[in-house]
């Protein structure tokens, strides 16, 4: 039973990491209706920029992080100006494809600037089992994972407050509801988009640092964006709580399936299990757990 809980908790915690990437998607999708495939590339770019500054220029970590934030904001502004603005009023699918191109561009740029070798990222959090749980329940849970979850919780709370309490947040929600109406009441659409992309860049930085500290900063980071897709399907594309719930479900079920079902069929099912789970889920509820009901009219 202990083993079951260990796997479950491990899965839930890694699910939070998926959720972190998924939130980046949700933010942009909510505000601009763009399905940003480049989120994974942004995670990679952010982590690599931060580590690259530390490794190549020898700046300390606490300087590198704010500098990376500046870079990510600049990137967000540039994307808004160069890619999104000329594509206003294009169908969603065109914007989606543009972000695939953007993903390639950012991946190439990141490796061009900082080289393509694997970097190690040291965060001041140790990857050891929590002593309390270890002693009382005999369950091994990594301290690092718990800290990551806590950081994620803080981030989500901050985002929730930003969305509900500030003027910018209200403008964001207005834009998400209806671009044209928001424009009509005088909300500067372009500035809102720039803000959203910058915030998504920040979320990408947090995700990149946590994932990078876990697995090393390498090209494979771009693939976690793909892992975020089933999370989005489960949670719905437009809901931040949905992204978190979806992340938890995907993380837990993926690890449990790997441990209990994997040996029956030869292992390695982690790669596709989340997608098939999400697929089956879609057949029952096409708009996800918390997504807005899709109404189609002629």
């Amino acid at each position: 039973m202990n083993f079951f809980f260990e796997v479950l908790i491990g899965g839930l915690l890694s699910g939070i990491m998926y959720a972190l990437v998924a939130i980046g998607f949700v933010l942009i999708y909510k505000a601009s209706g763009v399905f940003n495939f480049a989120q994974g590339a942004m995670v990679f770019f952010a982590a690599l920029t931060c580590v690259g500054m530390v490794d190549k220029w020898g700046v300390p970590m606490w300087v590198a992080i704010p500098l990376t934030i500046v870079v990510m904001v600049a990137l967000g502004l540039a994307i808004e100006k160069v890619v999104l603005r000329p594509l206003v009023n294009q169908p969603e699918i065109t914007l989606f494809m543009a972000t695939i191109g953007l993903a390639f561009f950012i991946e190439g740029l990141a490796q061009l600037l900082w080289g393509s070798q694997v970097h190690k990222l040291e965060l001041p959090i140790e990857d050891v089992p929590l002593p309390y749980l270890m002693e009382h329940f005999n369950i091994i849970v990594s301290q690092f994972d718990v800290t990551a979850a806590a950081i994620c919780a803080i981030l989500v709370t901050a985002l929730a407050l930003l969305f509900s309490k500030t003027k910018v947040g209200r403008a964001l929600r207005a834009v998400a509801d209806d671009h044209q109406a928001a424009l009509a009441v005088g909300i500067p659409l372009q500035r809102i988009w720039a803000i959203v992309w910058s915030v998504a860049g920040l979320v990408a930085l947090v995700a990149g640092l946590l994932w990078g500290a876990r697995n090393g900063v390498q090209f494979a980071l771009t693939f976690i964006a793909l892992k975020a897709l089933p999370v989005l399907i489960l949670g719905g594309f437009t809901s931040v709580p949905g992204a978190i719930m979806g992340g938890l479900i995907i993380g837990a079920s993926e690890k449990l399936a790997e441990v209990y079902l994997g040996p029956l069929v030869g292992g390695g099912i982690e790669g596709w299990f989340p997608y098939v789970l999400a697929l089956l889920f879609l057949l029952v509820r096409p708009e996800g757990l918390f997504g807005e009901k899709i109404i189609r009219r002629i």
Binding site: V83, M97, L112, L229
Partner: protein, 352 residues
Amino acid sequence: MLYREAGQFKTSYQSDNQIFPIRQDRIALFALLAAAFVGVPLFASPYLLSAILIPFLIFALAALGLNILTGYCGQLSLGTAAFMAVGAYAAFNFVARVPGMPLLVAFILGGLCAAAVGMVFGLPSLRVRGFYLAASTLATQFFVVWCLTKIPYLTNFSSSGVVTVQKMQILGYSFETPNSKYVLVLAIVAGLALLAKNMIRSNVGRSWMAVRDMDVAAEVIGFRPLRTKLLAFAVSSFYCGVAGALYAFAYLGTVEPEAYNLDLSFRILFMIIIGGVGSVLGSFLGAAFIVLLPVVLNIVGHGLGLPTSFASNLELMVFGALIIFFLIVEPHGLARLWQVGKEKLRLWPFPH
């Protein structure tokens, strides 16, 4: 074009409905086909044939398959490479396990297997659309590649799924030189492209386009969405499956499941974006562009004396930038540029 259709009067429905209604177009097409079938194998170097023209034709076929699904039926798919893998491995198995299996029949059976898999994974398209569908087609991609690595029966019990495909033989003639391979691939691609062009003009193609433009409306006027969408998935997967089989038999020779990874799916998606979504010609133009771009960049990189890693990253960037550029400047791709150019030339030199 520089010529006009003046004087070519249609006196029957049949002649009014033909694929290429203008005589000069027909002549140009026959000239092109003759050059491709006779001229190119006679004069092209083996490198040009086996490194550029054969992959170009194979990718064009796969892009055509995806274009049927995405361009004409409006269902975005990221699982193209998976369908290609199904076609390749199915053809391999048919040739390996059935004694005396003719090669072309094996290709067709491979395509049909891909079509069956495509229909299964196309089922969600009835409930979901757009990005949800794109994300769920990723399931196909990962699941199929996983199956091919993990189920030894599918790869004839070779280690880690790597198989060496059989020699191509039709009626005792074996296709071993680049020239003969090229002609075989060209014949298959040309035949299937003609079939696709006709299918799109028929009621089937029109029903796909109706579903693409607005599926609720299409349902109201009497197209059954289940049949239409699944047919699109089946036909598209058939084309991709045949392309995958050709990719294995005529190009790679030795294949592993990883050859059909997500990257290949994306490349084929790019081909139809750059070439033109919803255009048969666009599939060919896009494939040519994507096959030639790395070659050109490589030559330019070598010319400038750039280090290899730098050049490969630069290639990624140029690739991404070009896609964005095309989407901004001409969302309908190279095919539309061609069309616009043709219209301009038709009026030239008196545009008013």
